[in-house]
């Protein structure tokens, strides 16, 4: 009975709004998971009730506005209370509300049940990118905005998925219960993929979890939805839902790539190799604040070109990149970047723009600095 009613009301609003006008997006995105479906239904139900109340109350009001005008000669009545009426219009809304609260409570309880996942992924928010760790697979990567800067500033035409594309999407198998553990490294962020009905704030120092089960293979896009500083608007999320077989192939590919990266950490590089690699690392990790020309943004973000750190002792430069500068947007990259990447980016910074130091930093230098950094941190904590 109840489910029929919910279905009817949902479909009624759905028919009015969804298919006919789908391309303009007048309602929630097409749901692609059970929770998203439930939310869609709930929203339609409430909209229907609100629309009904609106028509009744404002129908009465506009009737009065038209019929009870002074200019139409309507005399003013003098009643100013009626206990029965007042009790009725207190009790009826109360009952309607409880009617809405019941299905809503069921969805709340369902959303909160994160038990028995098939797969668990840890998501970490950084200023301004997402880190993903597949807990059962030993896979870790970062996911950053892939839209080129030129499209944002208007120097190039905007692509179809403007601001909603990343270099490394999250990949999950279809029809599996995926549990996301969500946290942050610096400030609050929030992980949201509307079509999957999955949203959760990412809180530094705390871990929260949500779950979803995607109905169909496809690409689902979302964004960071908690103000997290300058590039809050440039932190998209892409979830690639694939078949189980494709998922397994992806996992295998990721693992062999990880092995190759591991090998880089123990290799010696030439300056040219380091600079070339470092420029890429710089562009995806540093340029958002310090700018592609290394000049920074006056008042907010210091320049690298000509900076004391990037031309002074190498050890200080490495320590700053590893540990960040607490209380500012300068993040600690120790966990985010590999030894080879940090070596490359430090070398790049010391040789680019006005910084013609000619220095070269090898992955091995970073590995030993990491050891040293740990000692320093430990003594600072005492």
């Amino acid at each position: 009975m109840k489910s029929t009613w919910r279905w009817t009301s949902g479909t009624a609003v759905g028919l009015l709004t969804q298919p006919a006008l789908a391309e303009y997006g007048y309602n929630l995105q097409q749901p692609a998971s059970q929770v998203a479906h439930d939310v869609f239904q709930l929203h339609n139900l409430i909209m229907l009730v609100c629309a009904g109340i609106f028509v009744v109350v404002f129908g009465a009001m506009f009737y009065a506005l038209i019929k009870h005008r002074k200019s139409a000669g309507h005399p003013a009545a003098h009643f100013h209370e009626n206990t029965t009426v007042e009790i009725i219009w207190t009790v009826i809304p109360f009952i309607i509300l409880m009617g809405m609260a019941y299905p809503a409570a069921k969805v709340v309880i369902d959303m909160k049940d994160t038990s028995n996942p098939d797969l668990t992924i840890k998501v970490t928010g950084y200023q301004w990118k997402w880190g993903y760790d597949y807990l059962n697979e030993d896979i870790s990567f970062y996911s950053t905005l892939a839209t080129p800067r030129a499209q944002i500033t208007g120097a190039a035409p905007k692509g179809e998925n403007y601001l909603l594309e990343v270099d490394e999407p999250v990949v999950v198998p279809v029809g599996k219960r995926v549990r996301m553990l969500i946290t942050a490294n610096d400030v609050l962020h929030a992980w949201w993929v509307p079509a999957l009905g999955a949203k959760q704030d990412a809180i530094p120092g705390f871990i929260r979890d949500i779950w979803f089960k995607a109905d169909a293979v496809g690409t689902y896009r979302g964004q960071c939805v908690e103000l997290c500083g300058k590039d809050h608007g440039f932190m998209p999320i892409v979830v690639e839902v694939v078949s189980q077989a494709d998922y397994e192939a992806w996992v295998a590919g990721k693992k062999s790539a990880a092995k190759r990266a591991e090998a880089d950490n123990t290799r010696e590089f030439s300056v040219a190799e380091l600079v070339e690699r470092g420029q890429k690392v710089y562009e995806s990790n540093c340029a958002a604040c310090h700018q592609a020309d290394g000049k920074g943004l006056a008042g907010s973000f210091p320049a690298i070109s000509g900076s004391k750190v990037a031309t002074g002792p190498i050890a200080d430069h490495i320590a700053l990149v590893l540990n960040g500068r607490p209380g500012t947007a300068m993040a600690a990259f120790a966990k985010q970047l590999s030894d080879a990447d940090i070596a490359a980016v430090v070398t790049y910074q010391r040789n680019a723009w006005d910084n013609k130091t000619g220095d070269r930093v090898q992955p091995a230098d970073i590995a030993s600095a990491r050891g040293g950094a740990k000692v320093a941190a430990a003594s600072a904590a005492q």
Partner: protein, 526 residues
């Protein structure tokens, strides 16, 4: 009739200072009311121009006019100033002008404190606005000031904390004054249950302010010490909790949003009966509904935090308690409708704004109900749906009621009728503009556009363009309002004491303009 007419002569030889000193040193409730209202209007234009810059940037995808950092400063300052610099001071202006007039009191209870409560406000405003030119720019962490982001900022973040303290102090002083005036200075015979509803709503609001402002002060003080003195209240690495800030903040800020709307209820409850020529329907239940809303507002704060991840039981509790607020709010809407029912209605500008208030505030109420449903809120939280929701409540709620009140009492304040034709232009352009800005934002939010972003993906383009066009229409029509006010101050048709045919209350027994000193001998209410 009271002795108001003679009051002026009695005080003739105590010449009060004129020129600038009159305004700096004044302890007269009418002068102070005027100061608050002008301050609020100036702030409306400054925060409004920030809103237009925001909307101009959002006219198209891509970054055209602002850099993301500056964009965040604009949204943050726009929000802070609209709340603390526009709506709250405007209501204080109404309270100063109207509470003594409506109670038959000669002035506020503590006139000297009243002067202070006003004059520290411009100081706070200067602190806030000047931070745009400081290194690092103005605050960019949202008016909600959430740490840890708020810990990262520069000197202007400390100045903002100072400004918030000052504004809170001002509100508390104002509230003490209002409560004392209402409880002690009513004309003989004016019992609490005979007071005009506007006075009732301010009495309740003043208690809300006194209860919540210290909470805000505590929260920002903890931010200040986290920023400067190495405490870790909100830093998990030091044993603190960033979510605790949100609990404390919203324990203040949820009642705060009712502080921004209860006096609006009061104004509308004066205006609608006047132009319906019928007493307010359900006076007593209006009072009880206002009080219940105020009390409920203290237990629902966490509905702003459904996405921080709370236990099922907490989520259910905050969902249900939030939904309950719809009951007394509904009662108010029904009562206003019943007041109009079988009245003898006319549609002067104040009434038009009041009717628009009732309809559009209700839309804001409905979207509030949608957001109360926790699973739906989790989808819509921090999207443009929320921006649409709170602007329906704040623009067509708080701001429109302020317009209604100003048109309603302007003849009493200035002694001249305002220009009805311009008033109607102002009304229609504002109402249409307001809906064009904010209605499409519901769709943007549903479709997934986050708030507080300077740039967006392509599918959001059309609705953003519509909203921007509406914003400029709305924004520029406020210039008409400025003209109307200036014209009424400089002259026009003389207003009689009883400006409106259907108006009731003591303020209509004194001449227009209301003399500098009124009710030197208290009127008696039967």
């Amino acid at each position: 009739m009271s002795d108001a007419v003679h009051a002026h002569e009695d005080h003739g030889h105590h010449a009060h200072p004129s020129g600038i000193m009159r305004w700096l040193t004044t302890t007269n409730h009418k002068d102070i009311g005027t100061l608050y209202l002008w301050f609020s209007l100036i702030m409306l234009f400054s925060a409004g121009s920030m809103a237009l810059m925001i909307r101009a940037e959002l006219f198209q995808p891509g970054l055209q006019l602002t850099q993301p950092d500056f964009f965040n400063q604009l949204t943050t300052m726009h929000g802070l100033i609209m709340i603390f610099g526009v709506i709250m001071p405007a209501f204080s202006g109404f309270a100063n002008w109207q509470v003594p007039l409506m109670l038959g009191a000669p002035d506020m209870a503590f006139p000297r404190m009243n002067n202070w409560a006003f004059w520290i406000l411009p100081v706070a405003a200067i602190l806030l606005l000047s931070s745009f030119v400081l290194p690092g720019g103005a605050v960019a962490g949202g008016w909600t000031m959430y740490p840890p982001l708020y810990i990262q900022g520069g000197i202007s973040y400390d100045l903002t904390i100072l400004a918030v303290h000052i504004m809170g102090l001002s509100s508390i002083m104002g509230s003490i004054n209002i409560i004392t005036t209402i409880l002690n200075m009513r004309a003989p015979g004016l019992t609490l249950m005979k007071m005009p509803l506007f006075v009732w709503t301010w009495l309740i609001t003043a208690y809300l302010l006194i209860a919540t402002m210290p909470v805000l002060a505590g929260a920002v003080t903890m931010l200040l010490t986290d920023r400067n003195f190495g405490t870790h209240f909100f830093n998990a690495a030091g044993g603190g909790d960033p979510v605790m800030f949100q609990h404390i903040f919203w324990f203040f800020a949820h009642p705060e949003v009712y502080i921004l709307i209860l006096p609006a209820f009061g104004i509308v409850s004066q205006v609608i009966p006047t132009f319906s020529r019928k007493p307010l329907f359900g006076y007593a239940s209006m009072v009880y509904a206002t009080a219940s809303i105020a009390i409920l507002s203290f237990i629902v704060w966490a509905h702003h935090m459904f996405t921080v991840g709370m236990p099922v039981a907490a989520q259910l509790f905050f969902m249900l308690s939030t939904m309950l607020i719809a009951v007394p709010t509904g009662v108010k809407v029904f009562n206003w409708t019943a007041t109009m029912w079988k009245g003898s209605l006319t549609f002067e500008t104040p009434m038009l704004f009041a009717i628009a208030f009732v309809c559009l505030f209700t839309i804001g109420g409905f979207s509030g109900l949608v957001l109360a449903i926790a699973p739906v809120d989790i989808q819509l939280h921090d999207t443009y749906y929320v921006v649409a929701h709170f602007h329906y409540v704040l623009v067509s709620g708080a701001l429109f009621s302020i317009f209604a009140g100003i048109y309603y009492w302007l003849p009493k304040w200035t002694g001249h009728m305002y220009d009805e034709r311009l008033g109607k232009w102002h009304f229609w352009l504002s109402v249409i503009g307001m809906n064009i800005v904010f209605f499409p934002m519901h769709f943007l939010g549903l479709a997934g556009m986050p708030r507080r972003i300077p740039d967006y993906s392509l599918q959001f383009t059309e609705f953003n363009q519509i909203a921007t066009v509406g914003a400029f229409m709305f924004g520029f029509s406020q210039l008409i309002f400025l003209v109307v006010v200036l014209k009424a101050i400089r002259g026009g048709v003389k207003a009689p004491a009883q400006v409106w045919e259907g108006a009731e209350g003591l303020e209509w027994t004194v001449p227009s303009p209301a003399p500098y000193h009124t009710f030197v001998t208290a009127p008696v209410v039967k």
